[in-house]
Amino acid sequence: MKKVTFLNAITEALDEELKRDPSVFLIGEDLFGGGGYGQALGLIEKYGPDRVIDTPISETAILGSSVGAAATGLRPVPEIMYDDFAGVCGDEIINQLAKLRYMTGGQIKLPVTVRMATGAGSCSAAQHSASMQGLFMSIPGLKIVTPATAYDAKGLLKSAIRDDNPILFLEHQFLLLSDEISEIPEEEYTIPLGKADIKKEGSDVTVVTIALMVHRALAAAEKLQEKGISIEVIDLRTLVPLDKQAVLDSVRKTGRLVVMTEEPKTGNSAAEISAIVAEEAFDSLDAPIKRVCAPDTPVPFSPVLEKFFMPDEEDLIKAVTEIM
């Protein structure tokens, strides 16, 4: 086993896939300096400027070129610095990456992994802090991956790059900035897309969550245990394809569901998961489904406001307690 940060894990995945497959290349802004958070640090020196391609500030060209390169036999891994910037290259995501294969009757293959930072916690304000998972989930034709740990990030990113479909790979910025060390295997490994991970088993309430909120849920789990409440924390890891079975199995066991995500409440991934459980496991529920989410506002700047905006352990403890 070796010790890495979440950021190191991303770099290792990129390094290993660049080495393994000559058709893989990175493309994005400031990759010379490692990219938005340093995820690509050291790679341009190692692989050269034709495998790690630095660009001007041109999101539509970054993603549009990735579409053209992928359609002609290469495997691009573009970086769009923040998922907020999906607004800038929205057409490439919504109308090209998501739709070209389908519209051409399966002729075009787009093995593109779009890496984007997501989430808040660094007082980067509204245009650099969004959690866009719900919006992305609603676009058929994409896969959405959103890891919470270094181990998951590395294994999932490697799988995403090898997948022949267009994938949005969301790296939580708070986790990218974190010094926290965890252990990952020395030897190479991958994690399949579409499989949730039970980060903590429990019996009283199923808590389904993603990204940074996984850590909040685990912290809440300890405090709840002291009160005699046992929560099961499911880290979805992938939103599309969704591991629906893992969620339903857990709800059938516990009878209670709380979905926790950093997204604003309306129309988010938690809404989708809640609807699925209400449709398919209604008889197993002993209490209403609860969602713990951010308010329906953009992300505010001031630390006091950002803290209020972001869901935390106390929010989850309150929600869980309400349905016991």
């Binding site: 539509t60 070129s65 053209g68 992928a70 057409d91 519209m103 002729q107």
Partner: protein, 319 residues
């Protein structure tokens, strides 16, 4: 270097085939047989024919909502195209895409695209791909005067210019971006003048002169293959039909449409070929007859082809 006789004849044949295809399409559309919308290429045939006569089979093109001419000129099958317009299972896209989204990846046709300007950055990517793979393939983007004012024009061409990508950006300026005349949509006279912004050649050419188009595109393709970077070519032309079939064309006069018809590239080229003694009148008639039969067969093929199974709606999403 003069253009080989066979190529001249091929270009003429392509123009005639495109014209007959489009005539069948607007006729069938008017008869209510085609779902959705169609955008006619009538009057612009010299561009597709002149361009694709230069390109190799392994070169790439991206096309637009007005793309039937590009696809035919690049080698697309008129039967599978017609079947796609009819929404049939035997269409290029199994009925999934329709007129604006036809692709044939084996022929390097990376799709017609319904988003104005989208093909510009996609072609940039195909050119990037060729360069990274070390081949001498080129990527040619067909786009209109309307697309020349979109973000992708700027970002796509700028990116190609800094990396000297083997791309040709081919603007078909038919004077109208939908209903909006080009004199109102830009403050400059020529889209080609924007080459200066990217440090690349910007060439204006008569879009109804197939030989002139061939020559200019040939130079641009040669530049690209030698690694000298992209070129912006603007073909000045006009479209004889409206933006789409059913367009009442309130934005232009009947006189203007008649003026456009006088510039029809097909009778002009036919006259040239006869004068150059490349073809006789009889031979041009035979080419036309063959085209009419080909398109007639394509329509028959499309009409007798089966619809896709409704459950196919759920297929072809993921690999």
């Amino acid at each position: 270097m003069p253009i080989p006789k066979e190529k001249l004849i091929d270009m003429f044949r392509t123009m005639v085939r495109i014209r007959r295809f489009e005539e069948a399409v607007f006729t069938k559309f008017a008869e209510g047989e085609l779902p959705g919308w169609v955008h006619m290429y009538i009057g612009e045939e010299a561009i597709a024919a002149g361009v694709c006569a230069v390109l190799r089979a392994d070169d790439y093109i991206t096309s637009t909502h007005r793309g039937h001419g590009h696809i035919i000129a690049k080698g697309g099958g008129t039967d599978r195209m017609m079947a796609e317009l009819y929404g049939k299972k035997t269409g290029y896209c199994k009925g999934k895409g329709g007129s604006m989204h036809i692709a044939d990846v084996n022929l390097g046709i990376l799709g017609a695209n319904g988003i104005v300007g989208a093909g510009i950055t996609i072609a940039t990517g195909a050119a990037l791909s060729a360069k990274l793979r070390g081949t001498d393939q080129v990527a040619l983007c067909f786009f209109g005067d309307g697309a020349a004012n979109t973000t992708r024009f700027h970002e796509g061409i700028n990116f190609a210019s800094i990396r000297k990508l083997p791309a040709i950006y081919l603007c078909e300026n038919n004077q109208y971006g939908e209903y909006f005349h080009v004199s109102k949509s830009m403050n400059i006279a020529n889209i080609a003048d924007r080459g200066v912004s990217y440090g690349i050649p910007g060439i204006v050419v008569d879009g109804n002169d197939v030989i002139a188009i061939y020559e200019k595109v040939n130079e641009a393709v040669a530049r690209a293959r030698k690694g000298e970077g992209p070129t912006l070519i603007e073909c000045k032309t006009c479209r004889q039909h409206g933006h789409f079939e059913g367009d009442a064309e309130i934005y232009r006069t009947k006189e203007e449409v008649e003026e456009c018809k006088k510039r029809d590239p097909i009778p002009r080229f036919k006259k040239q070929l006869i004068e150059m003694k490349i073809l006789t009148e009889k031979e041009t008639d035979e080419i036309d007859k063959a085209a009419i039969k080909e398109i007639d067969d394509a329509v028959k093929f499309a009409k007798r082809s089966p619809d896709p199974d409704p459950m196919e709606t759920l297929e072809d999403l993921y690999v």
